[in-house]
Amino acid sequence: MSEKIKLGRPAGFFDVFERRPGAIKKNMHYCPGCGHGVLHKLIAEAIADLGITHRVVLAAPVGCAVFAYYYFKCRSIQCAHGRAPAVATGLTRSNPDDVIISYQGDGDLASIGFNHILQAANRGENMTVFFVNNAIYGMTGGQMAPTTLPGQKTQTSPLGRDVLETGYPIRVCEMISQFDAPVYVERCALTSFKNIMAARRAVRKALQNSMDKKGFSLVEFLSGCPVNLKMNAHDMSEFIETKMTKFFPLGVYLDRAAEREPIVRAEMNYDADKIKSLLYPEEIQSELGDYKCSSPVFDKECRVKISGFGGQGVLSLGYILAILGKQRNFNVSWLPSYGPEMRGGTANCSVVFSKSHIGSPEAAENCDMLVCMNQPSVEKFLPILKAGGVLVYDSSTVKLPEGAAKDHYVYGLPASDLANHLGDLRAANTVMLGAIAAVMADNFLDDADKANLDTAMIEAVREMFAKKAKAADINIEAYKTGKEKIEFKSVPKA
């Protein structure tokens, strides 16, 4: 006579649950009769039989299965509520050969994280979702879930779920199977032996799809929470089979893995140096060392408003000034403001320099300098230029109205025309930068700063156009042109 174990503790479980605190190390934490336990056994058996314990990564939910990572002989991550599909997306994208399981309850999946599951399904992420629908928030003590049946009493629907107030149960399989990307969707019930065997096949099929990189599979399990529903084993299964299946019919909703090719995505780039060089342009070694401007005008905020049409480069012009400030160890802020359109609308930015604090980054009033590259900008922003402030405008696009800017120092130059002559209209903003440099030298800077101004400006332009040496050269030429061609127009009349 010989004996052998036909069915015993599944090999996909740890033999002893060392991670589980307390004295009980052989059992899971679930209540007696819990559907999570039934499903855990099917999964543990499957990952062992399929030989994939080393390939599986389990994204565990918030809900009663929060501690799923105590139990399975695989890698696991416990995710924020409803976010397991997002974590699983990261996992499968970075390790496409792994078999990723997103394990979720109905509150987790169909309530707090609903958009995550829909988007992951619609992207066809290569993952297996095991979705436990027990029609209740189990972990928190039996509140109504999105899947709670009409009329079902819960802690938060003591008179029964009122569909007028809280809507109808959400049918996840039906929704997911409408998408084009998913390959396999089935609803099972962890009730009778026959139904559990169907669930067992579904678990394996979904995992096989993930192993074969066929994309997104979801299996929903109608499952018992006998404690919160206050039912014995018999009534619990009867409730699921007679009441729940009415709303949530069992069956295969989608099965097209066989028609699909394995997913091949572009390889991930883990080259840290390359990523760093893309994110952070090389620091330019400054000829000026760590020279700091000494002009007293920067002791407090110096506020500049730059305005024009979107597409004229007013935002980049401000940005170059901000780089200058950063390179010269100022505090500096750059605040762009533009309409929804990319080109044609108006755009402006505020740049504020200071050796001390910067209050508001928005140059909304009391500006020291206003740079206008189109006519509407003059009308809009002249009122915020303080008396004695400096106006610089592009005379190819702006006609200064008679008597305007009588309280200000006014400079102009045909920046757009000059840029056009240089062969690139896009350089109008750096022509303007040259003009700004000349104006700053005239009005704001002491001798030391004047002497270093060109080097500082050109280094700022070079940083702006790092890796685009040709563009940098054109723009430096434009800068020099602007600085040379600037014309002084008038001083304050008062």
């Binding site: 006579m1 010989s2 004996e3 052998k4 174990i5 036909k6 069915l7 015993g8 503790r9 599944p10 479980f13 009980i24 052989k26 059992n27 899971m28 679930y30 209540c31 007696p32 009769g33 819990c34 559907g35 999570h36 336990g37 039934v38 855990h40 056994k41 099917l42 543990a44 139990y71 009778s192 032996f193 559990i196 065997m197 067992r200 006998p226 014995n232 084993a233 018999h234 299964s237």
Partner: protein, 78 residues
């Protein structure tokens, strides 16, 4: 004439790993399981097997939520 060796089955219940939920009791097609009188270390009345008649169908095993509460043993007589 050669006869196939006779196979029988047994349902072993790990007394201290059963939570007394009755799912196996409900599942057994031959009604061979019931909850016993003895309370185990977790505080539950563990299920007990009638002692004979098991056909090794696995209904109790797959219905049971506990990892190691039920083991189905296959016995081959020579």
């Amino acid at each position: 004439m050669e006869t196939k060796p006779k196979k029988t089955f047994r349902c072993d219940i790990a007394f201290d790993e059963c939570k007394g939920c009755s799912r196996c009791v409900e599942a057994c097609p031959r009604s061979l399981l019931k909850l016993g009188d003895a309370i185990n270390m977790m505080g539950f009345p563990a299920a007990v097997y009638a002692g004979e008649g098991c056909i090794g169908c696995g209904a109790c095993y797959y219905s049971c939520p506990e990892p190691g509460a039920i083991t189905i043993v296959e016995i081959t007589e020579d």
